[in-house]
């Protein structure tokens, strides 16, 4: 946590978690907590009823946690991880959300993503989009001191 203070003068450049980004990360954190909590309860009490749905819940929960961390951390590695987790989440909510409506029998038990995240105020549907928009606007510049030009190009490639 010590580098949070030292990075402060360049908050707009180096760190993604400053300003309104904090709200995004905070909501992500709450969603991660909710998903982990729910998945923990499901697996602890009734895993046998729907192993697939509950395994998926657990996976989604872990990905939300990783996404939250990746959004906070700076650097290109975390930037890539953030993109990967957000794309995974968005794909998940679209695919599972659609399947749960088209063929409800497939998912008799609720997951985070059922009905596009209805049980979570549709936050799982909206959040990855906001997150990706945020990432696209805040490419990693912290490591850019050494080779700014190359960094900018790579980050552009990542975003595309």
């Amino acid at each position: 946590m010590t580098d949070v203070r030292s990075a402060r003068p360049e908050t707009h450049r180096g760190r993604r978690m400053s300003g309104i980004g904090r709200v995004l990360v905070a909501v992500y954190g709450v969603l991660a907590l909710a998903a982990v909590g729910r998945s923990f309860v499901q697996i602890a009490t009734k895993f046998d009823e729907a192993p697939l749905a509950y395994s998926l819940s657990a996976l989604a929960a872990v990905v939300y946690v990783v996404a939250t961390i990746a959004l906070v951390r700076s650097g290109r590695g975390w930037y890539r991880i953030a993109w990967a987790t957000l794309i995974f989440e968005f794909t998940g909510v679209i695919v599972i959300g659609t399947l749960s409506i088209v063929d409800p029998d497939l998912f008799p038990h609720d997951t985070v993503w059922s009905w596009f995240g209805r049980g979570y105020l549709f936050i799982p549907l909206v959040l990855p989009v906001l997150g990706m928009w945020w990432l696209a606007k805040h490419r990693p510049l912290a490591a850019a001191a050494a080779a700014p030009a190359a960094e900018g190009r790579d980050a552009g490639a990542d975003a595309a």
Binding site: M1, R5, S18, R22, V23, A26, V30, L33, G37, R38
Partner: protein, 122 residues
């Protein structure tokens, strides 16, 4: 779980959440008022924890899953300290908004806890 106390708790958390959101969007940095509101929310959660631990001994049993109830309660207990900690770390208007988000999340979680305790058939 004491029902009226829980409703008071939900009301306080919602009020704290709206207060922080309004002040945050108005550009205020976290203050004693907004941080204090979250401290109040946390204190009520601690009281709720004590009540929940003692209630079964007085014949006040949860109708739903005890595990689920405590997962919510422990999760809710973590939120205000995390938000306040963050608000102290970066003093910007958005930290005030984060305080509001945390308080509203607590309100939702407490409401779910009430459902689990009183009406859910597990």
């Amino acid at each position: 779980m004491i029902e009226w106390f829980t409703w008071v708790q939900v009301a306080v958390a919602v009020a704290a959440g709206i207060l922080c959101l309004v002040l945050g969007f108005a550009g205020r940095v976290p203050s004693d008022l907004t941080n204090g509101a979250l401290v109040l929310v946390e204190l009520l959660l601690v009281v709720q924890l004590v009540v929940a631990l003692l209630a079964p001994a007085f014949g006040n049993q949860p109708t739903g899953s005890v595990l689920e109830f405590y997962t919510y309660l422990v999760g809710a207990l973590l939120l205000p300290p995390a938000a306040v900690f963050w608000a102290l770390l970066e003093r910007s208007r958005w930290s005030t908004v984060v305080l509001g988000v945390a308080a509203l999340a607590v309100a939702v979680m407490v409401y779910r806890m009430l459902q689990i305790w009183t009406v859910q058939q597990a």
